[in-house]
Every structure is written in C-alpha cells, then in structure tokens.
C-alpha cells in the first residue's frame, strides 16, 4: 500500500457549471482529488501553481484565449508528465492537432470509459 499514499489530483476544465460538477463527481468517485477551472487561462494558472496535478480533463470550447486544444498543446510543452484528456461535442470539434499523448472523448462520454482511462493514465 505504499504505492499511493495520497490520492492523485485531477484538474477538470469545463465552462459549463453543472457539467463540471458532474465531471468532478465522476473523478472523485474514481478516487481522485479534484480541482476545477472554467477557462483555459485559469487552468494554466492552476497548473503553474500546483505541481501535483497529474491529469487534466478539459472541454474544447471555452471562453477566453485558450481553448481545450490549445491547452492540451501547452501542457504537452510545459508539463510533459501531466496526462491530458480532451472531450467535446462532435460538431464543435475541429480537427486541429492534439498532442500524441492526449486522449479524445466525444460528448456525451461514457462514464466507465472515462474513469478507467483516467486511472490508467495516472497508474
């Protein structure tokens, strides 16, 4: 039991409030400590402050200068150890370059698949 002393930390980035609540609960149920951001800018700020963030789960379309895809690219550059999961409605998704390691989930996402992937990424 000395492998995981504390829970892994996940950052949920989603501008829609209730969707964010639900996503946070999914990750909390999966065993994560969960923190939240509702813009890409805010997520970058938190990533800079909190080196313990192991995983970022982000929406694509968000207000502000940094959308989910840009956020994934910046994380790959600056925090290559941090896992990234990107989700979006299929209609809103533009085929822009996601970093190789980032996982994409179309909305509505399958709860079990998201949980399982998240746990595998931080294992």
């Amino acid at each position: 039991m000395n492998k995981i002393i504390s829970k892994p930390t996940a950052l949920i980035v989603e501008d829609e409030n209730i969707t964010r609540m639900e996503t946070m609960d999914i990750f909390a149920d999966a065993g994560f400590d969960v923190i939240e951001a509702w813009t890409g800018d805010m997520a970058l700020h938190l990533l800079g402050k909190l080196p313990t963030i192991q995983l970022v789960f982000t929406d694509v379309l968000m207000p502000g200068r940094v959308d989910g895809i840009r956020l994934a690219q910046l994380i790959a550059e600056r925090w290559p150890e941090t896992a990234v999961m990107v989700c979006s409605g299929p209609l809103a998704f533009r085929p822009r370059t996601l970093p190789d390691k980032a996982r994409f989930f179309p909305k509505p996402f399958n709860l079990n698949e998201v949980s399982a992937t998240a746990l595998a990424l931080v294992a």
Partner: protein, 504 residues
C-alpha cells in the same frame, strides 16, 4: 395669464410654421397699407403664442416680440373680429399695461383678429397711435383693416400650401432615389457575359458595371481572365475548362474573381462550348454571375447553424449533467424523477424567456418569475420581487433560473412556502461605484417555521451556492436563520450580461 385656449392656438400656429421666421415683403406691405388706411404711425402683425406675442411685420415699433403681459392683441383674440380701444389709459384691460404707463406711451389701439381656417384666433393685424382717438376708426377704416387681416390669413395659407407641396416633392424625390438604388442593386447582382473565339475574349459592359473594369484596360484574352481568378481557384477552373474543351458541351464552376479594386467577388460561371463539325471547339460563351451577396448570406446561415448545434449540444450536456447529479444525490427513484422533472421545467422556462427575445437576452425579473411559476399558488403577496430592470445573458439566465428554483423548492419543503403566512422577498440592486459594477441579489424568507441548517449538502444546495457563482463568478452566502432562510448573491453585472461566444 390664464389661457385655456392657449394649446389650441399653439397647435394652429405651429400648423403655419410662422413663428420666428424672417420678414417677408407680402406681410410688410399689408402692414404698410393698414397704417395708411387707419392713419397711424404704428402697425403690426402679431401672433399670440403661449407666453409672448411675436410680430411677423412691424412699422413704427422696435421690439420683434413682447411678453404676453404687455399684449393688447391677446385681449383682441376674445373679440369676434375687431377690437378698438380709443384711449388705452381709460380701459380697465390696458390702463396698467407698461407700454401705456411707460415708453412708448401708446394711447390708441385697433386690432382686426386673424382667424385660422378652423376658426381659431391666432393673432391680429393692428394699428396703434400715441394719441387717443375718441372717434376710434371710421367704418371704412374698420372694414379696410379687417379686409387686410383676411389678406394676412390668405398669405399664411399660401405659405402653408407651398411648404406642403415642397415636402411632397422631396418625398417623391426620395422615392425615386430609392427606386434607382434598388434598380442599381439588381444590375449589380446581374451577370457579365463572356464570349471566347480562339484566344480572343469579348466581355459585355457588365465587366465595367459589376466588376469595375474600364474596358480599355482589359486585355481581351483568356490569359487576362485566368489572371483575375483567385490563385487558389485558378488551376481548378483552368482544369475544368480544359476537360470541357476535350469532352463536354459545357462547364460550370464557382470561384473568386478579382474586381478592379483588388477585392474578390464570389462568382458563379456557366459556359457553353460550340464545336465545329470536326468537333473542335470554336467558341465558348458564358455568363459570370456575381454571387457575393448570396455567398455572404450562405456563410451567415452556416454560422447560425453552427451556433445552433453548439447551443443544442450545450443544452443537452446540461440536461445530462442535471439528470446524473439528480440521480446521484437522490434518496429514491421516485423523488429523483420528481426533482428532475421540476428542474427541467425551470430550465425550460428560462429557455422560453431567452428565445422570446431576438437579442438572446432575458429580463432579470422575467427569469425569476419564470423560475417561481412552479411554486406560485397565486396567493397574493407570496413573492415580493423588485429591482432595477436588467437584461441578462443566456448563461446567467439559465443558472439564475435553476438557483431560484432550488431556493423555492427548499422553501416549499421546509421554509416560508411551507406555511400559509410565509412570504419571500427577492430584491436586487446594482452597485455601480467601482470599475466592475456588482449586482446584489437578496432572497429573504419570512413568516415560515423556524429553520435549521440541513445535515447534508445535496445537489440543490450546490446549485444554489455554486450554480450561478460558478458560472459568472461572484459569491453566494446561504444562511439558515431561525427567522427564515436568507441567500445573498453578489456577482459582477458584466458576468450577468455576458453573451455566449463561439470559438472556432
């Protein structure tokens, strides 16, 4: 001066549009004639406005207007046709008039009433003397003065008719211009024809009209045409023409064609190929339709569709999350079903309000009332809602509706709405003092049973505490006072008014 007829007179005067206009010979002549006929040093055409009299023409009298208190003409308006006062110092109406008691010490007055077509007296043509005239006017002078007064009215009517005709002419000029503009638009949207024989191109004058080229600067070759096709479209069009030349009777393409000013028009081009008996193409005839306006409309339509699908996706995501959260926190399936249904109704009401306006905004009060509709038993005074009018954006409207709905749901179960006497105040105000104006919304329950802090925090409470504040920023303080629940929200007005932006 008590003047009940004042507003009627004012309307009649404004119909002639005469006040404060410059002197006109026609009126000056009539005043000159009046002084000659009546043998007086002073003559005036006076219009009696609501607070002053104004002189359109005057002889022997300097001011162009006087206050109504100095007006003798105002008294004349009460007469049918003419007022004659032989000695102004002896008449009750005029003896204290400052024009009588002081400079210029006037003594005699005779005024013929100017009556508008609708019977309203609007002023006088009057003559004045500095000496009293016990004999007044002779009958000839009096009828002469009245005849001249009628002439003044004729002049006024004439002016009015001329003005109306001018206005009508202006209107018809504008209509004609509008017609020209619309014809021009039609011509602009029309087509240029091209005719190619060998390498020689013949364009019709639409190349000038639609695309702005001066004919003398156009090289009449296929090469010139290709050069003016957008580089990204050029090879494709060239290829189409080539393959049509080999096999087809016609070709059509949509491409960008450069106008003389350097900008590109979206054109639709259709062309027919005429072949010799041997099958060789001898001629290509086509039309190039400027489709820019249509293309812009299509682009707008596509943007709207994109936005609509984004909205739909978002709404479904919210509904999915509300359903998941409701189930996750429910004590039984029945209670979950009921709570979910009610939440979706509250959300739907807010959507209706947003959709009802073309601006995609909703009134703060309308959103609150919509969210309370489920909880309103029509008992008077149940809800006391008030605050300054504020239009709020879609995100804030949906979150506010859910927040109010949850507060009301709790109030119906445990708070002010669970008793007959209970009532709820919902009031907001805007603090615009700082750079970032804040809206403060207070929910205050009273008259209900004593309340205490619930043991567990459900989804409803999260919606209250984080639903709106988590969407637009701000803070929420939910307190379970013994006297009733209070909920204070402070959030930036800018957040309330934020519109949905679509990122591409």
């Amino acid at each position: 001066m008590n003047d009940p007829a004042g507003h009627v007179r004012k309307a009649a005067l404004s119909g002639y549009d005469i006040l404060q206009t410059p002197a006109e010979t026609g009126f000056d002549d009539l005043v000159a004639l009046a002084t000659q006929i009546c043998e007086t040093p002073v003559g005036l055409i006076s219009f009696v406005a609501s607070d002053r009299q104004w002189f359109k023409a005057r002889i022997g009298f300097a001011p162009c207007e006087t206050p109504l208190s100095q007006s003798i003409c105002a008294h004349a308006l009460a007469e049918r046709d003419i007022l004659i006062i032989p000695d102004l110092t002896q008449d009750l109406r005029t003896r204290d008039n400052t024009l009588v008691t002081g400079e210029p010490f006037i003594r005699f007055y005779a005024g013929a009433v100017l009556t508008a077509a609708n019977g309203i007296a609007i002023g006088t043509l009057c003559v004045i003397d500095s000496k009293p005239r016990p004999e007044g006017l002779t009958p000839q002078q009096a009828s002469g003065l009245q005849a001249l007064a009628r002439q003044v009215m004729t002049q006024l009517e004439l002016r009015r008719v001329i003005r109306e005709r001018d206005r009508a002419l202006t209107t018809s000029d504008e209509a004609r211009d509008a017609l020209q503009i619309s014809e021009e638009r039609f011509r602009l949207s029309s087509r240029a024809t091209m005719d190619r024989e060998g390498d020689t191109f013949h364009w019709d004058d639409a190349l000038t009209r639609v695309y702005g080229y001066v004919a003398s600067t156009v090289t009449p070759t296929a090469a010139w045409w290709f050069e003016h096709i957008h580089p990204e479209d050029r090879d494709r069009v060239r290829q189409k023409v080539l393959s049509a030349t080999e096999v087809g009777p016609r070709w059509a393409d949509a491409y960008r064609f450069q106008r003389a000013d350097g900008t590109y028009a979206d054109v639709l081009n259709q062309a027919f190929l005429v072949r010799s008996k041997a099958g060789r193409v001898v001629r290509m005839t086509g039309v190039m339709l400027d489709n820019s306006a249509r293309a812009a409309a299509d682009q707008h339509q596509s943007l709207l569709n994109h936005e609509l699908s984004h909205r739909l996706k978002n709404t479904l995501a919210i509904v999915q999350a509300i359903a998941a959260q409701t189930l996750r926190n429910a004590s039984s399936l029945d209670s979950a079903r009921d709570a979910l249904l009610r939440r979706l109704i509250a959300l739907g009401k807010a959507h209706d309000i947003l959709l009802a306006s073309n601006t995609e905004q909703a009134g703060m009060e309308a959103v609150i009332r919509g969210a309370l509709a489920l909880h309103d038993n029509q008992q008077a005074g149940r809800f006391r809602i008030g605050g300054p009018p504020l239009e709020i954006g879609p995100k804030a409207a949906l979150a506010l509706a859910l927040m109010i709905h949850e507060l009301a749901t709790n109030a119906a179960k445990y708070g002010a709405l669970s008793t007959e006497a209970g009532h709820i105040g919902i009031r907001w105000q805007i603090d615009a003092a700082g750079d970032d104006p804040q809206l403060r919304l207070c929910w205050t329950e009273s008259g209900g049973p004593p309340v205490s802090t619930p043991s567990r925090t459900g989804f409803g409470t999260r919606l209250i505490e984080r639903g709106l504040a988590g969407t637009i920023g701000g803070t929420v303080k939910l307190e379970y006072q013994p006297s009733g629940v209070t909920c204070d929200l402070v959030a930036p007005v800018a957040g309330f008014q934020e519109k949905v932006e679509i990122l591409n």
